[in-house]
Symmetry: C2
Subunit: 334 residues, 2 copies
């Protein structure tokens, strides 16, 4: 892969202008019960309320809207476990671009169904025995379509960063300053974009990525100083965060900006899904709730602090959601 | 009951000042999938995101904060199926007032549990064989406590109206004008408060109340011109909306301001709960979702229009929520 340009704050600002009026400006929410439970002020950016039910639309639209006429005519290809798929499909539909999405066969049904609902051709592959990159490359060769990667792309990263840009502007309006910010991390596109924004506008905020246990390549990479890889590719309820590792580009950003990271178990992620249902009245998918899980299960001392919490998505199957509501979950740590 | 003063718009404005910074200014949400499904622009006021998970905190706090020192010392009594209970309990807790709440024994566990969580004494009664008014009156005689009624009170009504005041201001900021507004109705406190605000700020908006089937006293009252009563007191999944009838005060307001009303079946209410989970990523209780159900199941022609939709609460038991997600629901009407 050729070396990619590292996006800067101005790229996020430009992305915000491109997506204005198309992406949703999600609100900044605050819940007295959560504040009380944690003894802190938690300001929530609910990207489950974003178009397609996840932040992914931001980056996808920012990338696709910059295509020229010839590129649009050749269509696009993307590979994704689900939320990027929906983001790309919805952006392509709005822009009149033909989209083919390569999705793992174990992706949540809702995500596959929604991706088709946005008019995309869905090609399923086996996450363990097949390579999504090879399948996408084959389609690219045949049709000349452009591949829209899930995170290794300056425009995708800049687009995802608009969530943090909104969040900081919304916090500023209510006079809030973040001591820390927690963000789910899979490939690290969202965390990278948000890091760029916090670095520029709120450099004293401590930035933490949160990953599923067993998929904590980023936490380990931050410790070792070089890009680590996950041993397994399946086996967590947090389907949105199961990538082999961060990319060269995202790790080059995150390695220099994150203050640390945490990992949460499936049980903790499901506990956070239930808490969000019960107290926040929000539908959050397990991978989208890992930051909340980190707070509820005491991974970070937040007493008396102001915390920015990004909930990254809400696309969850019925069976997983019911499991979260009825499960024997670990008691929360307060 | 002595004749009660009919609240006016200035009362709602005063209430808004009293609850500012204590109640949550819930956002105005818009969802592209809902808009597309209905061929309309639906602007959603999600009062499930309000403190206590329902609009009821608005009215309760507006009433209690006006108590003088002696009244506060004697404590308060309220009777409620659940959301008013939580609203009163939370307001009383914030103001350091002792609260006793009389709740039906078939109220959702979560509502009873939460009401106790806000520090209130909960007294359970049988909805069919006992009178909640009598139980409350007995406590009042013994302790000298003031009864805080769920809807027959000018301050309660004015407080609930603040939801519409925020909604219209938020809509104004994005240049939206409502053709119609849909609001759940039990005793009619919320609908009354909102009617006062729309009458003042947006008199051309058509106002509709939505009730559960079998509890459509308001729809029948609007037709007959006098206050009708429901025959049964139990038997709907919309526990938040099961009152014998509107009150003298609320009907005196609603009879002159509503353009009509609709009723929805339990299946339709549960269908709306599922839709809100799946597409809006919001947790809404059946009684809170009746307005959405009216839209989804085609009770009103909304094509091309701008509609205000108030979701009144999100306090729902696990079993009811799971039933909504897994149920064989009527197909939505689009």
């Amino acid at each position: 892969m050729s070396e990619l340009r590292i996006p800067v704050f101005a790229d996020v600002e430009a992305a915000a202008e491109r997506i204005a009026g198309v992406a949703i400006e999600t609100p900044l929410l605050e819940n007295p019960l959560l504040n009380e439970d944690l003894g802190a002020r938690i300001l929530i950016k609910p990207e489950n309320l974003q178009r397609v039910g996840a932040f992914k639309f931001r980056g996808a639209y920012n990338r696709l809207v910059q295509f020229n006429g010839q590129e649009r005519a050749r269509g696009i290809v993307a590979f994704s476990s689900g939320n990027h798929a929906q983001g790309v499909a919805a952006a392509a539909q709005l822009l009149g671009i033909e989209a083919t999405i390569v999705m793992p066969s174990d992706a949540p049904e809702m995500k596959v169904w929604n991706t088709r609902g946005y008019g995309a051709n869905v090609v399923l592959y086996d996450r363990v025995t097949e390579s999504r990159e090879e399948i996408a490359a084959k389609i690219t060769r045949e049709k000349g379509s452009v591949v829209v990667p899930p995170f290794e792309d300056p425009d995708i990263i800049a687009g995802q960063g608009t969530a943090a840009l909104e969040m900081l502007r919304q916090a500023h309006r209510i006079g809030a300053v973040f001591d820390a910010f927690l963000c789910p991390a899979g490939g690290g596109g969202l965390a990278s974009g948000c890091s760029i924004v916090f670095g520029e506008l709120s450099p004293n905020t401590a930035l933490y990525a949160v990953e599923p246990a067993g998929f904590d390549d980023l936490v380990r990479s931050l410790q070792s100083g070089h890009r680590e890889v996950n041993e397994q590719l399946t086996g967590s309820v947090c389907d949105a965060l199961l990538t082999p590792s961060t990319g060269d580009l995202t790790f080059s950003i995150l390695g220099n900006s994150l203050d640390g990271g945490f990992s949460v178990t499936d049980e903790e992620a499901l506990g956070a899904v239930k808490y969000a249902w019960q107290k926040l009245k929000l539908v959050v998918e397990p991978g989208g709730a890992v930051g909340l899980a980190a707070l509820l299960y005491g991974k970070l001392d937040v007493k008396g602090k102001t915390i920015g919490l990004l909930l990254s998505g809400g696309n969850v199957d019925e069976s997983t959601f019911v499991k979260a509501l009825s499960g024997g979950l670990p008691p929360v740590n307060f």
